[in-house]
Assembly symmetry: C2
Homo-oligomer: 588 residues x 2
């Protein structure tokens, strides 16, 4: 037997027990003739003591121990004279009778502490050491808990967890697929799923009614910070439901998770139309932990001789409460901030409601009365600062949204222990892309138009199609989109029209999605669903912006696993068997 207890388990009640512990050496302190060893495992830290009463054998072995050695220690539980209230085992220590080195350790390349001195690259290469650190242990344990609670809730609601295949078929629509050459079917390829979308719809056609899966998905995209080529979704689908049924079911899931994982009671989750989100928050994933809504002031701003406003399609303002005393230096710095390429505004106008009355950078063009009207519109009061951007409508709303979040950060309004979830609803079905001169599905090609918009859906006019709204919804918490879904098309004709709008020839639609169109011939029920980004859901619960610490073995920004050094070349014989050949084109 390697151990009788874990390192997080012993209490004062265990006093005088003979115990065996096993774990890693976190720290060794020598105080004269006494050596204290902090022994660590997944469950905690227990202090071992070797002193003048210890045997020579124990003293000899102890003298040769080092950080991260794996040892087994036998001894008696004693009450500590100096208790440590910071750890659960702080009342006791083990007087060691016997010590065995199970494995030695070289000196780790970084310290195994909450705040490691290892850089990102080093931490990823030695992930097994990084994972020993408390923040990562907390993250993975939280993730485990989340997964169990997701299943507990959905199982209680009669959902069936059904596994869908990983080796599926490549479809050019959407993001880029990872593909897998088939050896048996030379020249052909499987693709790894970007989501089990079509399979879960097939399960609905098959009558499975309530499906879920916590499932790996794959996207061969150019990686931005915090995107992973493989990621995990909570994927769900239901039949014989309308949008409100789905929102209510998954509001239930969210409440269950907040309650059972974080012990947070969630109120009723509000719903906000997409149009309002864009109008008031400049974003389809507004952070509503704080107010500071965007106000359109185009009508008040234009025709006052200020050409920058006059030449703008849209002028909008936010009110930063209590910032009326901002100095010139501070507003200049904010101006520089909005001009960064990430925000992309061409300039910033401000109105201060400070000590010396209403002041602004456009005093030349606006009377105090006119400025006051703007202040009234934004509900600004004495002591506040109004920030104004202008330009084309959509772009400026987005910039105001970004500025709003920044001001929220600066004013400490984005408390990571506060959770403000909401549903965004009534999305447009399509986005028009100027570059390729075609419509793209805002969610995906299986999302149904609102019943009242079906006529427009069949219209030959682009402006009609652009105005079709979707039975689609996103779940947003604290400005982060955690999930999204839709009521699906379940009518073959409607689905064919969808493919047509998206520019599929009927041959292409047939070859890629023929099985689904075919399935729709045999009694497809009305259905809809949702998928949550599980990595991000976990990171949100852990209070982190980054998903990387919530994935046991993440890849770096070049899609490499630096620990195992993958991807890597493979043998020519493997290539031969797969009937492929490397063919690296020179960069032009």
């Amino acid at each position: 037997m390697y151990r009788t207890h874990t390192c997080g388990e012993l209490r004062i009640q265990n006093k005088s027990n003979k115990v065996i512990l096993a774990g890693w050496i976190q720290r060794i302190r020598e105080l004269g003739a006494v050596t204290f060893i902090d022994l660590r495992d997944r469950y905690g830290i227990t202090q071992l003591v070797v002193d003048e009463k210890s045997t020579d054998e124990v003293k000899k072995i102890t003298a040769e121990l080092g950080r991260e050695f794996v040892i087994q220690a036998e001894g008696e539980v004693k009450e500590r004279t100096a208790k440590n209230s910071k750890i659960n085992t702080g009342d006791i220590e083990i007087a060691v009778d016997k010590i065995t080195v199970l494995n030695k350790s070289e000196i780790p390349p970084f310290t195994i502490e909450d705040n490691s001195d290892g850089g990102d690259d080093l931490r990823m290469k030695y992930r097994y050491l990084d994972l020993r650190r408390n923040p990562l242990k907390y993250a993975l344990t939280l993730r485990h808990r989340m997964a169990q609670e997701v299943r507990k809730y959905l199982d209680s609601q009669n959902f069936l967890e059904i596994e869908t295949p990983c080796l599926i078929k490549s479809t050019p629509e959407g993001a880029r697929d990872f593909v897998v050459p088939s050896r048996v079917n030379a020249g052909e390829f499987y693709a790894l799923p970007q989501s089990p979308q079509t399979f879960k719809q097939i399960l609905m056609v098959a009558g499975y009614d309530r499906y879920f899966q916590i499932v790996r998905c794959f996207r061969d995209e150019d990686l931005r910070a915090d995107r992973q080529p493989e990621f995990t979704q909570i994927d769900c689908e239901m039949s014989f439901v309308e949008q409100k049924d789905i929102l209510s079911m998954f509001e239930g899931l969210a409440k269950h998770l907040f309650k059972n994982v974080l012990n947070v009671e969630l109120d009723k989750v509000p719903q906000m139309p997409y149009a309002d989100a864009m109008k008031y928050y400049g974003s389809d994933k507004p952070d509503i932990r704080f107010d500071m809504k965007i106000n359109e002031i185009t009508d008040l701003a234009k025709n006052n001789g200020f050409s920058i406003f006059d030449n703008s399609e849209y002028v909008g303002a936010i009110c930063a409460k209590g910032c009326g005393a901002y100095t010139r230096k501070q507003t200049d710095e904010l101006t520089d901030w909005v001009k960064r390429p990430q925000t992309g505004a061409s300039g910033l106008i401000y109105i201060k409601l400070g000590e010396d009355g209403i002041k602004s950078s456009i005093d030349k063009f606006f009377t105090p009365e006119q400025l006051q009207k703007i202040a009234d519109r934004t509900e600004a009061q004495h002591g506040d600062l109004i920030l104004i951007l202008c330009g084309t409508k959509k772009k400026t709303q987005g910039q105001l949204g970004t500025l709003r979040l920044e001001m929220g950060n600066r004013l400490g309004l984005r408390n990571e222990n506060k959770f403000a979830p909401l549903w965004i609803v009534d999305f447009p079905l399509f986005e028009w892309d100027d570059e390729t001169q075609r419509f793209y599905a805002m969610h995906h090609p299986f999302t149904s138009p609102k019943p009242e918009d079906v006529d427009k859906f069949y219209s030959s006019k682009n402006e009609d199609i652009a105005n079709v709204n979707a039975n689609a919804y996103d779940f947003v918490v604290n400005g982060v989109e955690l999930g999204g879904g839709s009521i699906r098309i379940f009518d073959r004709k409607l689905q064919q029209r969808m493919f047509e709008i998206l520019g599929f020839t009927s041959e292409a639609a047939e070859s890629q999605f023929g099985f689904l169109l075919n399935a729709f011939k045999y009694g497809a029920p009305p259905h809809g669903g949702i998928a949550f980004g599980f990595d991000r859901f976990c990171a949100m619960f852990g209070g982190s912006d980054s998903i990387r610490d919530y994935i046991a073995f993440p890849k770096n920004n070049s899609g490499r696993d630096v620990m195992i050094d993958s991807p890597s070349p493979i043998d020519d014989s493997q290539l031969d068997e797969l009937s492929i050949k490397i063919d690296i084109k020179k960069q032009s």
Copy 2:
């Protein structure tokens, strides 16, 4: 609202309730002016009635309904005059007030009945229809239940479910990998995992102590019946454990599953050394639901002038109880059976203990006393039949094992409602392959030798190495291997020696498993684990030999998903981006 109840829910207590149901039409029967419709969903079947009291609208729609139409029906729950005790809702029916066709259906290519008239190919192409059948619904529901119970048990035992990556690194050892070309790292490939073996060991080095995952694995093998290119494992690993700890923990899992899924109480699971399994059952996965052990009779058989025995290394016998009256025709047929290439014996000798005394096909060479000695060895009694095979030892034991199973089938000794699990232990660490003249790891290269065999493990003599036993174990139920595992090597030097025996150069070991060897430098704890074949575990629980019905979307024997028609060619632009080219060699 699409429905107030499911089709499996209404009882006599709901009499007079106004309800709305939705589902598929299983069957329509017209009896004069009355039409009965069996409406089906995942939960059951409810009978709808349309008769002379129904509205014209309802009658009109009813007249146009067909099998597998999806409808919504509103009406009142009535007590049936002729009750149907075969279904849960058999006491009631719905007098339909309103009927809505939600979706039509073409006539399905096969019937949606328990015993479908569709062949395998048709059923796989129309998997969404096949999945509507009760046996598949039962299989997938059982699988869901199993998955939940596996997690419930392991979570209760402090295991953490941790996801390991799907895009890993190709290693030539073992079965063939599926590979994934990397676009960003041109000319390089990821591999899909055959198992998360090295990652779970890394998690142990990271201190995670008790890990599990229900995880997809991939093997690009030539498919035999009932092998799938992607399959699911219950994958587990523990630290600070010995073999007995693991056997006891997972015996606990087995008991939990049998109890909570099948309501079967399992006794203590017996352990059998590999050598005994081969000796008495001719198999490393014996079916111990019945006895009929193999008896070696080489000593009794040889040197009696029967050259076939005399020229054999080994002679073995089984006793088929109660078959002493087998006719010549029957023993001839059995002889043909053992000569089939699948069994591969060159002939069959029998001894009958029948009406007219002891009789055998070798009466010419053996006295009745000598035959009786063989009968005594096999514990045969009056009325029994002894079946004898001879040849080289290992091969003959295998053939006797196959014959034993066949006789078990013929005698009805393999009751699918009886479960006889056991652990096979003390496996050899290596298998010698004559063809390639090298050792292969019987389990895998991470399995540790028994501590007492470590000297032999370092020996330069092949016969020593061949005799090293492993800390490995298999979990077998009813002759099917459901799982296997081992105590792992956690010492760098031992691991390097293992790679050396398996013929790795140190460069190859370093490039493929360097990360693991490296991890072993930083305090690797003693650890071990197990993996269960989840598909097969489910099929076993469902009483089926075939895993295919327990997988929602299986592939056929050529690795094709015939429903979605995958694998399939991809665009040249995709190949270009991936820096690969199709290169099909002509078959020589």
